[in-house]
Amino acid sequence: MGDYTAEELQSIFIMQGFSGLSLFSVLLLMGLGLALIFGQMGVINMAHGEFMALGAYTVYLCSNITEQFFPAFTPYYFVITILVAFVVCGLLGAFVEWLLIRHLYHRPLDTLLATWGLSLILQQTYRSIFGAREVSPRLPDWLMGSFTYGDVDIPINGVFVLGLSVIVTGSLVYFIYKSRFGLKLRSTVQNRSMSGAVGINTVKVDRLAFALGCGIAGIAGAAFTTIGSTGPDSGSRYIVDAFLVVVSGGAASLLGTVGSAFGIAQAQSILEFFLEGTKGKVATLLVIVVVLMIRPQGLFPSKVRSH
């Protein structure tokens, strides 16, 4: 890299740093909903990606409606759409919990299989409704530009996703550790029968938690329309990454999810910069697997007395 000036190297350094941050926020958004569902409830939701795709399709529908009926609203609709995606996915999540998940709480590995079946059905549903082709929601122009300072370009959509993931993480942490519901959730996770005995409606807690996790997946899917594709299979592209983030974080802690998303994002970002594409990804995955083999409890486990 001898041909570059110090300034050029510096601006690349800044942009690469941001690219790592941006990947971090993407992984975090993917992982949060899953961390809640998997970490707190022990349910493995293989259809998580399909909930993300639903969020993305919600954006697509909303963008079509906006363009047709309220064209003047086009620059702003996106922000509201994210909330709509949250609600839509949350409702579907609650329904799925009622239909499937609640019968399987005592069989965690089977939730994996049942939700895999669900993901097949959802994928085919998207295909029947929206067609096999990928669709492209019309995004506001302000979202697709970049902030430029000299040689440094910072993508606005990256900043947007980063900001969104900070907000979602913040709200979730507040919700779980400060709110009344969060208290109920945590107590249900720790001791289901005792919680029931002290008057917590554990059925409702489970349903709300699952719906919340799915809703967050919807937010993630909506946000990802700015950086990725919207198609019937879009979700399946994210699922493995999302699981690895949650598992390497130590399933039970949100802090762990944040930490592992950061670690994986930095590793991938740096490895991809210095290695060629696929090799960077394979190297990242190998690092994660080896780390998990050495520290199966994840990077940030919550230590408890064995029982």
């Binding site: 399987l104 895999w116 079946g117 083999m293």
Partner: protein
Amino acid sequence: MPLFLKTLFKTRGEAIGFIAFLVLVLVIFPLAMPVFRLNLVGKYLSFGFVAIGLVLLWGRCGVLSLGQGVFFGLGGYCMAMFLKLEASDPESTSIQSTPGIPDFMDWNQLTALPWFWEPFKSLPFTILAIFVVPAVVAFIIGWAMFRRKVGGVYFAIITQALALIMSLGIDGNQGYTGGRNGITDLRTLLGWDIRTEDAQYTLYFLCVVLLALTALAAKYIINTRLGRVLVAVRDQEDRVRFSGYDVAIVRTSVFAFAAVLSGIGGAMFVLQVGFMSPSIIGIVPSIEMVIFTAVGGRLSVMGAIIGCLIVNWGKTAFSEAYPDAWLYLMGGTFISVVMFFPNGIAGLAEKFPRIRSLIPASVTERIKGMATKKTTKTVSDGQ
């Protein structure tokens, strides 16, 4: 010998079922089907090896691996490498810049055979590799994880990541592996054309016989003390550990054994289908292998094989008629199997499979006899 048979089949029904299955695949199918369909059945049955492995590993021992495709792939690639080398003799590859190496290597500017391909010129080595490579890989992975008590969901996710790594790794090194296209256009095995109808009949019967032997081996294992230990590890891990068993090595061994079975399945797949590609070993196929097993019955060896046949046959038949409905049907079947018939088709056949399969019928009488009067007949000491 009767004792041996009793170890294989605990009830008369089991024995009859097994014989009925043999009649179905060895006599009825070959008579009733054109060779094209029979070849398809052979392909489905090659997944039966994986399913048997999963019955031991997942159904019995409670370890769900979402990475069985990796081992299927290892076995399959070993076989495919041998066949590809045989198909790439200097004569038939004379238009290449470097004749005598597989075509995809030539396209990727390789000018010599990579070192790890060399031994696959030998059939004995290849056959050995089909067994040893999956076993060693599984043993290393299993040992690393089980020794640290990684299990359940974590193991499932990590093995899924392995499936992803393997398929990405093959994609990314196409000069050495054939990449995404895989290793195609396989023709002969020691000069014997595997694409002819005769060969396909022969390979079908070879596959069925191997599968039947594998099924017997699995049934044998299930009915020995090892089989009971597997279930015990699944249900009462700590108790087993504190009865002095090394749980890690038990799990690792059954994982390695399941891997070997998958490898054999992969090799049979390649022989019958005529190519190998990373699309058969990634995340989705690996989960599908679990699906076969679950639908057939995760506890039952024969159930899992039947599951392979039914799911794959359904896939072929329904996707021919209603490609759209197929995914709904597949997803729906799967959800309902998990929710309502966790022991699959085999579970429907027996009323209480969990209990039945664990209490050998003969034991009751033997103990009764033992408890009341001392047995006089001598039993050979197994140690």
